[in-house]
């Protein structure tokens, strides 16, 4: 598979693996992201400052005072030519989600009506979806999580909300997401997690990472409140979310 190198000025370039969204293409993006991090850590890619994975491409940023595009591109080519694994081992995380409270899930009934299912079927389909974190962006910690069950595909709301509460779990198109902050948003709100996807008090303020496999676990309002109190107090054990 050939890649395209796209110029992003003299401090970055994008390695584009394709013009579509697919697990295979994203797998190669993530593999190069990891391969470059390893090479940089080993000191063989001097001047690379960071890499930004997206659905189908990887942006590589560099310091033009330490290296150059002409020096770097062949080295990236060599990393790709050596062969990138297509099936990267990934972390499996489980996110608790409460679907019960109408305040948490104001769009659940409408989603059920528009997809011609029952509310319980919508929840079951969301719980059964094999999700994967493709990209973080737009705002700190906001993850674009693909893999939504086909029966739930809907375009974004025609009238976006001015205020979506923090930790809302939402769906749109073939994806789900969790809002890290209160913000405007046009996705359908079907639940809420007691977790904060961005918490500046934590040493790792962003919990999700590109490449994570993700599934939701249904909790009731009581469990939600219990976990919410722990998260608020900074006492929640986040390691319990990572499956062995």
């Amino acid at each position: 598979m050939s890649v395209r190198y796209l110029s992003c000025g003299d401090t970055a370039f994008t390695v584009e693996f394709g013009n579509e969204i697919s697990p295979e293409i994203n797998g190669r993006v993530m593999a190069l992201h990891v391969a470059i991090a390893q090479a940089a850590a080993a000191g063989t890619l001097e001047g690379v400052t960071e890499t930004v994975p997206t659905m189908r491409s990887l942006m590589v940023t560099y310091d033009p005072l330490a290296t150059s595009r002409a020096e770097l591109q062949p080295r990236i080519d060599a990393l790709i030519a050596r062969g990138l694994p297509t099936d990267m081992a990934s972390r499996r995380v489980v996110i608790p989600c409460c679907y019960d409270d109408p305040e948490f899930a104001p769009d659940l009934t409408e989603v059920a009506e528009r997809t011609k299912r029952t509310v319980d079927q919508v929840i079951a389909a969301h719980l059964a979806s094999p999700f994967k974190v493709y990209v973080l962006g737009f705002m700190p910690g906001l993850a674009y999580v693909a893999g939504l069950d086909r029966t739930l595909y809907l375009p974004r709301r025609t009238q976006p909300r001015v205020r979506v509460p923090r930790s809302s779990v939402a769906i749109a198109m073939d994806m789900t997401t969790i809002y890290p902050f209160e913000s405007p948003g046009g996705w359908h709100l079907i639940g809420r997690t007691p977790l904060w996807m961005f918490d500046k008090r934590r040493e790792q303020p962003v919990f999700l990472a590109p490449g994570d496999s993700l599934e939701f676990q249904r909790i009731d309002r009581k469990a939600f409140d219990r976990i919410a109190r722990q998260v608020e107090a900074g006492a929640f054990d986040w390691s319990t979310l990572v499956a062995p």
Binding site: L6, S7, C8, G9, D10, T11, A12, F13, T14, E16, N19, E20, I21, H33, T49, E50, T51, V52, P53, T54, M55, R56, S57, L58, M59, T61, P64, L65, S68, R69, A70, V135, L136, G137, F138, M139, P140, G141, L142, A143, Y144, F181, F198, K200, P205, V206, A209, P210
Partner: protein, 352 residues
């Protein structure tokens, strides 16, 4: 009592910035950092700080700061007309920019307006005693992180200083104000120049674009002739699958007007980017004000890299040209020694 600079009156948009929060774009964290890295580097050089030390980025109009420390040395860089208020009834005494001053407890520094630019810097010798967030002191106010409580300075904020008093030494000044260059803003085509028609690309590099009122640390929205996409906007010509956004990326949404994305830009986006500002000219963009006009001129990646290396050499020369500043009153002992004694008979340069 801890040494501090207390904000008596805030400026318009004062934030703590360093060279940026590098390494977390993959988690959706913008780099933020100085809009004009040259100004910050020069202010730190004057203050005797390492180049990546965080300082105060002044946006359009600076604050009034009360010295709550035995003494503090501040460096001001940019087109400022600062003044010093002695704490008594004396009228404010005008100060110069592009140099350092030793301030004493109770004195008030009025940073003032910036003349014809949006950005200037204030650095304190020894730096600020603030905790870094994800390795950086850069403020990213949209997420409330970094700098001073993740936000712009407000009245009665107290900026803690790393040093209780200034080290003895001479005040220093730049040899000359830094020359940022003039003429068109240099850009490199891409990453999505193929999303625009030949006409659209021609418009982009021949027309004049004016900075609109929507200009801040995130980016600058320009006004001017519409740039045509290659495929009609109705057919998705202004949509791409989101990819990474480099500093200076020029995205052109459906309306056809360019938006240059700067320090607080989001990490990824789904609008096509016709070109990217060469890093040599990013500090110039970081200083533009609404109403300023620019033209864009394409260069190759190699040319852009070479221009940046030349600018770095120019910056190093500017830092090397830092000299002792004449005090604004009294006898300059250092100058006296340098000019009278070094050539005098009591000084014997021969090594023993």
């Amino acid at each position: 009592m801890t040494a501090a600079l207390k904000v008596l009156r805030p400026g318009l948009f004062d934030t703590i910035q360093d060279m940026g929060r590098i390494g977390y774009m993959a988690l959706g964290i913008p780099t933020a950092g100085a809009m004009d890295r040259i100004g910050l580097r020069l202010a730190n050089a004057l203050a005797g700080n390492p180049p990546d030390t965080a300082g105060l980025e002044i946006g359009v109009m600076g604050p009034e700061l009360l010295v709550e420390a035995d003494s503090v040395r501040v460096a001001l860089v940019g087109r400022l007309s600062p003044s010093l208020i002695g704490g008594d009834d004396a009228p404010p005494k005008p100060l110069e920019s592009d140099r350092t001053y030793l301030l004493k407890r109770g004195q008030i520094l009025r940073v003032g307006m910036i003349d014809g630019a949006s950005t200037a810097y204030l650095c304190v010798a020894g730096g600020l005693a603030l905790p870094p967030f994800m390795g950086s002191l850069s403020t990213y106010s949209r997420a409330g992180i970094g700098g001073f409580e993740g936000r712009r300075l407000a009245a009665s904020d107290s900026l803690p200083l790393a040093q209780a008093s200034a080290a003895p030494g001479n005040e220093r000044k730049l040899g000359a104000a830094f020359d940022y260059g003039r003429g068109p803003i240099r850009v490199v085509w891409g990453p999505q120049d193929d999303c625009f028609s030949d006409d659209g690309k021609r418009t982009f590099v021949t027309a004049e674009y004016r900075v609109s009122k929507e200009a801040d640390r995130m980016g600058i929205r320009f006004e001017g002739p519409v740039i045509a996409h290659a495929t009609s906007v109705a057919k998705g010509g202004a949509d791409i699958i989101s990819d990474g956004i480099a500093p200076g990326a020029i995205q052109v949404p459906g309306a056809g007007l360019p938006i240059v994305l700067l320090a607080d830009r989001q990490t990824v986006g789904g609008y096509p980017k016709i070109a990217t500002v060469a890093s040599v000219d990013l500090p110039r963009l970081g200083r533009l004000l609404p109403g300023h006009s620019v033209q864009f001129q394409p260069v190759t990646v190699e040319e852009a890299e070479k221009l940046r290396r030349e600018q770095e050499a120019q910056l190093r020369r500017a830092i090397a040209s830092v000299t002792t500043a004449r005090p604004t009153g009294g006898i300059d002992l250092v100058r006296l020694y340098e000019e009278n004694l070094i050539d005098g008979v009591i000084y014997d340069p021969t090594p023993i």
